[in-house]
């Protein structure tokens, strides 16, 4: 069966991922961690996107998680591993509170507000000298797990696994129906019992929690952070480009995009410093202009063409024209 095959493939992939440290050196493990971090961010960004809300705030929640974790250890003496859960919780609670204000917004207004929030978090960390270390940031006396490359890799893989699991649940449960309905047509969603705000809040809180968790894992693995590292706009830009390239509104699309772009950017970083950023910009433009459904969308189209099944009916882009006089 098709489904059975997919499970087996996933299990094999997971086993290989878990076994990586056995046959990879420190540098490739490092690259893998970076790819996995971006992959988790790309998948989490997509999870909210399934409701139609485009967040530019990934870096904000990632940075918030970083700071919550490092400060909990440094100022509160918390166990580093526990601080990751704590940071995820903080990000989730902040998203919950903010959600009441910003989830009434739609489209551009929502996106711009999330971008602004990221900047506000950064400025706060910049200016709370005594508590957050100000512009110079903070350093931990010791990296988690004594900096053991394999342990750090597994920690990051764990964060990614939680994210993929959550995304899988989003795809398998009634959340998919709710979020897709909200994205396609809010009027129709409301008429069929969907509490739009509730589902947007769930999606926003869950994805923010995941982003905060990944920030915490990152900061514990490096042992230091500054406002400019924690809230680096790349943590917003790269996941976005990865998800768009692979194919949005799915778990597998952003994952594939992250592998491709993540590895390509490592290579480019070595060739031309900062060149990878230009490449990201170009990819975003090309994808948006020529392949709005990403690589997986192209593949699906090719399969459909080869099979000759189904009508070519253009996927109508839902413009929710409200009723009125004709």
């Amino acid at each position: 069966m098709k489904i059975r095959g997919a499970y087996i493939a996933a299990a094999v992939a997971a086993a290989i991922m878990i076994a990586f440290p056995a046959f990879l050196g420190a540098y490739p493990l490092n690259v893998a961690r970076s790819v996995m971090t971006y992959m988790a961010l790309a998948v989490s960004w997509d999870m909210l996107l399934r409701s139609g809300q485009i967040s530019f705030g990934i870096a904000g929640l990632f940075g918030l998680g970083s700071y919550a974790s490092i400060l909990a250890v440094l100022r509160g003496g918390m166990d580093p591993l526990l601080s990751i859960a704590f940071a995820a919780l903080v990000a989730g609670l902040v998203a919950f509170a903010l959600g009441f204000a910003i989830l009434r917004l739609r489209a551009m207004y929502f996106s711009i507000t999330t971008l602004a929030l990221m900047e506000i978090f950064r400025i706060i960390m910049h200016n709370l000298h005594d508590f957050s270390g100000g512009p110079e940031g903070v350093v931990l006396p010791e990296v988690i797990f004594g900096g053991d490359a394999s342990a750090l890799y597994w920690l990051c893989l764990g964060g990614l696994a939680v994210t993929i699991g959550a995304s899988w649940y989003f795809e398998r449960s009634k959340l998919r129906l709710a979020l897709t309905a909200i994205r396609n047509d809010e009027t129709s969603a409301r008429s069929n019992g969907i509490d739009i705000f509730k589902y947007l809040l769930v999606a926003f809180v869950v994805t923010s929690t995941l982003q905060g968790m990944m920030g915490a894992i990152q900061v514990q693995s490096y042992g230091f952070t500054t406002p400019d590292t924690a809230f680096d706009a790349n943590f917003t830009l790269l996941p976005l480009a990865m998800a768009l390239l692979g194919g949005i509104h799915s778990t597998i699309g952003p994952m594939a995009g992250a592998v491709l772009l993540g590895i390509a950017s490592e290579w480019l970083k070595l060739k031309i410093p900062y060149g990878h950023l230009v490449v990201y910009g170009v990819i975003i433009i090309i994808v948006i202009l020529f392949m709005p459904n990403g690589l997986f969308g192209l593949a699906r189209k090719a399969i459909r063409k080869a099979g000759g099944a189904g009508s070519p009916g253009s996927a109508s882009n839902g413009s929710d024209a409200e009723e009125g006089a004709r």
């Binding site: 897709t180 396609n184 009027t187 969603a189 008429s191 019992g193 969907i194 009508s311 109508s316 009723e323």
Partner: protein, 239 residues
């Protein structure tokens, strides 16, 4: 007790009063026609009772309970469902999933239960090919899908806003039968908006007539259609 009633229901859009002081009631098992010339306020009236728009003033009661300002999703859970004059398919969901949405969120069914109930309803409406994308449906099929979705909410009151518009005469006949059957089996109160008077005559026991937002006549179609005010409203609209 009436299933649904309004008193003095009014909706003003910055100056234009689209629904003006409308009081009416709908009873169990009744098929009510809602007619009036273009722009009379029929669709706006349905938006108000289903919670898609909030009224400027007046009161809406569902089985005696005040629901005037209740959000739309809560009204659909209580038992008020509707279709739209301009179709509202969820284009990234399959046909069956479109229908399931009503069962999952209004009735709180699990995906499994919702699938079964949606299949049953589609079968009842003669809608097949449930694994298709909505873009592949004919206009008749889309309308059936939207009725099926509304029925999946298991409503006690259902509004159908021009579900026959765009259908040919055979399809219209079929749809009239369908509406009569689903209304009878479920003992629902059904409000039907149509411009084709033949449909209204065949389907409804009673009609209300709106003109420029006001309720100007009420009664069996045969009587109302002879009312001078109604004739005037239609002729005035056509002139």
């Amino acid at each position: 007790m009436s299933k649904l009633s309004t008193t003095g229901l009014t909706k003003a859009f910055s100056g234009l009063v689209a629904v003006n002081d409308v009081s009416f009631a709908m009873e169990e098992g009744e098929i009510l026609g809602i007619i009036g010339p273009n722009g009379a306020g029929k669709t706006t009236f349905i938006h108000l009772v289903s919670g898609i728009l909030m009224p400027s003033s007046g009161r809406i009661e569902f089985k005696g309970r005040d629901v005037t300002y209740l959000p739309a999703h809560e009204r659909s859970r209580l038992g008020i469902a509707r279709t739209y004059q301009l179709i509202h398919p969820l284009e990234n969901l399959k046909v069956l999933e479109n229908v399931m949405v009503g069962a999952v969120f209004s009735r709180g069914k699990s995906l499994r239960e919702a699938r079964l109930s949606a299949e049953g309803i589609c079968d009842e409406l003669g809608l097949g090919g449930l694994d298709r994308d909505t873009a592949q449906l004919s206009i008749l099929e889309i309308k059936k899908m939207e009725i099926a979705r509304a029925l999946a909410n298991e409503p006690e009151v259902l509004f159908l806003d021009e579900v026959m518009a765009g259908l040919n005469s055979d399809e219209t006949k079929q749809m009239i039968e369908t509406v009569r059957r689903i209304a009878g089996e479920r003992r629902m109160a059904v409000g039907v908006v149509e411009h084709v008077m033949g449909v209204i005559r065949e389907l409804t026991q009673r009609v209300i007539v709106l003109e420029a937002g006001e309720l100007i006549a009420e009664g069996p179609y045969e009587k109302v259609s002879k009312d001078p005010r109604v004739i005037e409203a239609y002729l005035g609209g056509a002139a």
